[in-house]
């Protein structure tokens, strides 16, 4: 099956060790899996099991201590900081639990920021950002600053920002962690729509209800994959 669908992600034996003085903390102890293009995967596991660490490695924000990582066919485990930034810019979109929007900057400019770093000229930038905002249902909030938006709206802006460079993979670490259940449902519906249009999505969640939106759940414990398959309900 791997040979039929092109792989978005291919991690083999990835480990991550944090040095805490003389003590070594192994956050990931050899993780191996592949994710095909168009898949919608949830990563679950108890607190401290290494979910965020894995997401940071997948998101090229951090480097694995050992193991190999192919993103969209490119080996990213040996790249320098600037090449990693380039990968984050063009191939990855990251959504955070705390939204992480630029505070004094309106929604449109927040969404347009990755395009600026990609060197897209101003007019095109604004048009593309406006289009992306409309796609997450916030076309009429372009000039609002983050503090003039609700939590759910802020997360939509963050999702629009993550998608504006048309990345190969959308990564979300507990994207609904700061939202109430109704707003969570709206965000999950948005993810489902995006996946239906072919977007590869990996999200971390504590919440089985949220994770059940995915087609596949990878469960971690103590830095290892303990199960990998479709949600129990299906």
């Amino acid at each position: 099956m791997n040979n039929q669908t092109p792989l978005a992600i291919d991690v083999r034996n990835v480990t991550k060790t944090y040095a805490m003085g003389s003590l070594e903390v192994q956050a990931l102890s050899g993780v191996t899996f592949t994710i095909a293009k168009g898949e919608y995967v949830a990563v679950m596991g108890p607190s401290g099991s290494g979910k965020s660490t894995l997401m940071n490695v997948l998101g090229c924000l951090d480097r694995a201590t050992a193991g190999s990582y192919l993103l969209d066919g490119v080996d990213v485990s040996e790249l320098d900081d600037n090449r990693l930034a380039e990968i984050r810019l063009r191939k990855l979109g990251f959504v955070f639990q705390g939204f992480n929007l630029l505070a004094r900057t309106d929604a449109l400019k927040n969404v347009a920021l990755p395009l600026f770093y990609a060197g897209v000229p101003g007019r095109e930038r604004t048009a593309a950002a406006q289009r992306q905002l409309a796609e997450v249902g916030l076309g009429d909030r372009a000039r609002h600053k983050p503090n003039e938006l609700s939590g759910g709206q802020q997360q939509r802006v963050a999702i629009a920002r993550a998608l504006v460079n048309d990345p190969a993979v959308l990564l979300a670490d507990e994207p609904t962690g700061n939202l109430d259940s109704k707003t969570s449902e709206e965000i999950m519906a948005l993810f489902a729509t995006l996946n239906a249009r072919g977007r590869t999505i990996i999200l971390v969640s504590h919440d089985e209800g949220v994770a059940n939106h995915a087609q596949r759940i990878i469960r971690l414990r103590d830095g290892l994959v303990v199960s990998d398959g479709p949600p129990a309900g299906r």
């Binding site: 924000l61 951090d62 380039e86 955070f96 992480n100 920021l113 920002r161």
Partner: protein, 399 residues
Amino acid sequence: MIYLEEALRVLFANKVRSLLTMTGLIIGVGAVIAIQVLGSSMAGAVNGALGDMADNSFIVAPNGVQGNFRRAAIKLTDITAIEQDVPNIEQGIPLGGQNFLVQNGHHQARYFLTPDSSQPFNDSPLLYGRRFTSNDIADATNVAVISYRSYQKLFPHGGDPTGRSIYAGIHRYVVVGVLAAPKRGFINAQFGGDITIPYTTYVNQYVHDGVAGAARFIVADASRMNLTEIAVMKQLKALHGDQKGLQYQTFDKSQLTKGINGIFGVMTIVVALIGAVSLVVAGIGVMNIMLVSVTERTREIGVRKAIGARRGQILAQFFIEALLLCGFGCGIGLAIGLSIGWIVNQFAIVKVTGYVAPLPWVESLLIAGAFTIVVTLAFGTYPAYRAARLDPIEALRYE
């Protein structure tokens, strides 16, 4: 340009802080430029005034402070001997001055009568008539060239006074020339007397003991002025019995110019020192506030990096912020410095010297520009570099 837009927003979001940070630059650049404006207008005033002074002659006089001052006094015979024996000397002219009530009818005022030759010490232009001719000198005629000031006093009704007579003591002089008003103020007046008469006439009428005191020598080759001055002083000592204690001094235009330029040189060094100190102090302020800014915005930097900003792009953002801060500071300093310089120039220097110096725009702009660039490079680079080097994960985790 998004960097500029964002930097502006940050600076204006922290108005008070930005302004306080700029104070050092404002004061430093303001002071340097104000002093620079004043220095250049004063230099212009002085050099402009010296411009009319003859550059082919020098004055020699006994040192004022010496035991044998009397013995050292230059005699008419000394001048003749030097004219004959010292090479490069064209003419020797005794100096001196006689105070008289000078009269033209009932218009009168006290003036110094001073000797001069056909090659005058003060080369300023004439309003009427002519200078002394070599015939005036050779025949010791009773003629006078008068200053504009004395012309106004003695001929209050104006008009061309040449050919008319003025009286001083028992002598009558025919006015042959009137100097134009000194265009550059007071300094000129010191080089030219109010009433000048041919030096031969002066000697005949007023020097009865054969002692001139001081003398002016016109040289053939101005480039050998220094050597000639030394030779003259040596000859004077020899003529006066080679007394050990005898001392003479000389003045010429290039000496005066050098002296004045020396003063401005010292001023330039002082300005440079003020500049350097304020540059460092202001720079440390800029660096401090930029480091604060980087720390405050660690999370923001983390977000930008997570989105995909390269190091250079983060560096550029903070660098431009520092540049803008410095640019604003130096710009305000430039405006204040030029204003202070202009005001003092208008209301003090022009009043006193009569010389209108142009504002040194280009130099001032260069100074402000150089300050901006140097402070930004020296003190803005490190904070920007720190921002660019931040690890995205750690920056995102920063509270």
